[in-house]
Symmetry: C2
């Protein structure tokens, strides 16, 4: 039941802290390897899974189904505006939307409501670069 602090777990958290944007488990793994910290891929997955469960990281699914992870500034519920090219992320919240979502769902007799609201776009830098 513990939750031992191992070299590997520390490394994953540190790597996440250095990355501002959403990254895949494989990208994290790659980054760790590149800096000399050898950590197994399975371990990276397990660490991310644990962190996600503890709400220490946010998870979201890319359009191709891959899971992306990010250490967000705020731990409270929020959403994201993500650049689909470079992964640049802006945290956003929309109290209006939250209210709307639960009202709509409740009106239909639904319970345990959860919502997925993510915004994808192309950030100014990537738009300029693609020119």
């Amino acid at each position: 039941m513990a939750a031992r602090m191992t070299r590997q777990r520390t490394a994953v958290v540190e790597a996440l802290d250095e990355m501002a944007d959403f990254r895949s488990a494989q990208q994290l793994h790659e980054a760790l390897r590149a800096r000399g910290e050898s950590v197994g891929l399975a371990t990276v997955y397990r660490a991310l899974q644990a962190l996600a469960e503890a709400s220490e990281v946010d998870v979201l699914r890319a359009e191709d189904g891959e899971s992306l992870y990010r250490r967000c500034a705020r731990r409270e519920h929020h959403h994201h505006l993500v650049c689909r090219m470079c992964g640049r992320t802006v945290e956003i919240d929309g109290p209006t939307v939250e209210a709307w979502a639960s009202k709509v769902a409740a009106a239909q007799g639904f319970d345990d409501i959860e919502h997925t609201i993510e915004l994808w776009g192309t950030c100014a830098d990537c738009r300029a670069a693609a020119r």
Copy 2:
């Protein structure tokens, strides 16, 4: 470039029409097989892919990443409230949310904005059944 009308494609569309809720490609395949219509799994995937491209069906990702398909009543942009237990679906739209999404994204200098807004919950029937 054609788009030939084959027995298989017709079968997939018909099966979709009979299912009110979001179903996976494999469930569709299973259903077709069960009713005697033999269609290859790859063909089901291809048909769904084509239909999705033509906006004939809506696609959404289940929490485990599996793609779910549904023939929706309206072809215009809309969202869904889905029961995570039985798949029961209610089409919803939120003009307020649409406006909010594009405003927020534009304010951050993002382009080609796209949003994912889906609501998940447990419908009244499933809640009663789970008791």
